[in-house]
């Protein structure tokens, strides 16, 4: 069954939609809210969002599958996104990706069995002055080393 937005969220979504002359233009902002509320945008969530914006579910799907930040399946409590682009790689990102895989005992794109961590690699995060860098959920961490990664992950409950 398609999930429903909470009453509080519905109000927030109305305010967002009011910012645009066409309802469909609110799709990306609405999807960000939906993903936060439902944890993913899959088949059922597509229908909820489509109904809100008076568009077809396929119009939602073609957008969800285009943008890398929208998740078809939920991620772990902490989503680690480590940069694998040039400036970070010059300073050792690829070794750190290997280290994270080993430490978490998962491959890139997987979630740990306890649903705590998901590991993905991403292109440039716009934090090259702190390379190598990563995001955990929406928090940035830079100048990474193996020790620093241990320290960051150990602090996460």
């Amino acid at each position: 069954m398609s999930p429903e937005f909470s009453e509080k969220t519905k109000k927030k979504l109305e305010d967002i939609i009011a910012q645009y002359p066409q309802k469909k233009a609110a799709l990306l902002p609405v999807l960000h809210v939906a993903q936060r509320e439902f944890g993913r945008i899959a088949y059922e969530e597509e229908k909820t969002v489509a109904a809100l914006l008076d568009i077809k579910p396929i119009e939602v799907r073609e957008v969800v599958t285009f943008y890398s930040m929208f998740l078809r399946e939920p991620v772990g409590k902490y989503h680690i996104q480590i940069c694998s682009n040039l400036s970070c790689s010059i300073l050792g990102a690829e070794n750190l990706i290997e280290y994270l895989k080993e430490k978490l005992d998962i491959e890139v794109g997987e979630t740990t069995a306890d649903q705590k961590f998901t590991l993905t690699t991403v292109e440039c995060l716009g934090a090259c002055e702190h390379a190598p860098c990563m995001m955990v959920n929406f928090d940035y961490y830079g100048n990474l080393t193996q020790d620093k990664i241990d320290e960051i992950l150990d602090k996460l409950e």
Binding site: A25, H32, G126, A127
Partner: protein, 415 residues
């Protein structure tokens, strides 16, 4: 002269708050523009200042605004490009984090000049915390009467809204950005028509980068001549150079256009890290053709870099040392563009993936004699054959790496 236009308040505590910003002469440019100047005067001043686009293409902002047709019975829009996806680039983040009201001032003056009443800041999805900061700054500006209806009693109305992207490099391309803002996949549009006449929601639209718009208040306050003196007459003002890679002090350095690349790397950014030796520099974001260590005695402005067959782009400088393999650099460049191609144009979609597969095979030690020629052939068949500049942005660095580091790349094939 080492004038700071954009980063002057970066060290001032709480300068992102409107009260602090107002104490530091904030919104004086808006007051001057909206009370003492008309639209034509502003347009002439910005044109005369030669304010060139800071996103990458370097198109003069005033000329772009001048393309918006007059007397059209449709709303007009301003889209602020805060997508900042060009690898190596992190400058707009600083403006939006530490000086958001400078950007808002630029947005107000630009909108007033062009006759725009609705503006959107399209910000990359990963900058969630910066989007929140912008929203707070907008709320403050509304509260103080700098946004909304009847701005500072002038009768001018402007609404500003932050629109978050969702992780697609191509949306930094202006027509892909428009598609994305309309709630669609970020597939670039065929041009013409240009956004100035048919843009967002089929209405006349101006699209400018964050750093470009943030320069507007200083032009209004100090005049076009001053702006040209800070930088160059044909390329006014400063750039926020972002230095990353194998240097001692990576970071942002606001310097006049025409500054020396060598000085930026060896003086401002402290030179090479840990006694490493310089091998190559990417001078304007990943899309810019690479320069060898012998080619860095160069001025950093749009025309000088075109002359050197590279580009100033987003002024993001990536410093590569001798211990970094150019095959690795080529592999990372091709991985990026193959991933970010929107898939609309065949040369870009197929070509970039073909190059990526070839380079990956070389990196696994299975390179063949004709691989490099094939890569050049493929890249030349992407160049100039796509709807948007992403195709060129991929082909240019690839061609330059293969041509300038051919000997090194061949050594990986033989071994």
């Amino acid at each position: 002269m080492n004038e700071k236009i954009l980063s002057k308040l970066f060290d001032v505590e709480q300068a992102h708050k409107i009260d602090v910003y107002l104490e530091k002469d904030g919104y004086r440019a808006v007051r001057k523009a909206l009370t003492d100047m008309n639209a034509e005067q502003i347009l002439e001043e910005v044109k005369k200042a030669s304010l060139r686009g800071r996103g990458g293409a370097g198109f003069p902002a005033g000329v772009k605004w001048g393309f918006v047709p007059k007397g059209v019975d449709k709303p007009k829009y301003l889209c602020v490009n805060a997508d900042e996806g060009e690898p190596g680039t992190f400058k707009d983040k600083y403006i939006m984090s530490y000086n958001p009201h400078l950007l808002i001032e630029g947005i107000i003056i630009t909108s007033y000049c062009v006759g725009i009443h609705q503006a959107y800041i399209y910000i990359r999805g990963e900058y969630e915390n910066i989007a929140l900061r912008l929203e707070q700054a907008i709320a403050e500006a509304v509260d103080k009467g700098y946004l909304g209806k009847n701005i500072i009693g002038s009768g001018f109305e402007l609404n500003l809204f932050v629109h978050r992207g969702a992780g697609a490099y191509v949306c930094g391309e202006e027509t892909a950005l428009l598609e994305s803002l309309e709630g669609k996949r970020g597939n670039p549009r065929l041009k013409p028509p240009f956004p100035a006449s048919i843009g967002l929601f089929n209405c006349p639209t101006v699209i400018n980068n964050v750093e470009t718009l943030s320069n507007v208040p200083s032009i209004i306050l100090n005049g076009a001549d001053w702006f040209g003196q800070v930088g160059l007459p044909k390329d006014g003002g400063t750039r926020i150079f972002g230095v990353s890679g194998m240097v001692k002090k990576p970071g942002i350095y606001e310097l006049p256009l025409g500054s020396s690349l060598k000085e930026i790397i060896f003086d401002y950014a402290g030179g090479m890290k840990e006694g490493k030796e310089l091998k190559a520099v990417i001078p304007g974001g990943m899309s810019a053709p690479v320069l060898t260590a012998d080619e860095i005695d160069i001025k950093m402005d749009f025309d000088s870099l075109v002359e050197a067959k590279s580009m100033l782009g987003s002024a993001a400088i990536i410093v590569i040392d001798k211990d970094t393999s150019m095959l690795d650099v080529l592999r990372l460049v091709t991985k990026f563009y193959a991933h970010e191609s929107c898939g609309q144009c065949t040369p870009c979609r197929v070509g970039n993936n073909w190059i990526r597969k070839t380079v990956n095979r070389m990196a696994e030690g299975r390179g063949k004699k004709d691989d490099l020629d094939n890569i050049l052939r493929l890249a030349n068949n992407i160049l100039g054959k796509t709807l948007c500049p992403l195709g060129d942005a991929a082909a240019m660095p690839i061609i330059s790496i293969v041509q300038k580091f051919r000997q090194e790349l061949e050594s990986y094939i033989r071994n």
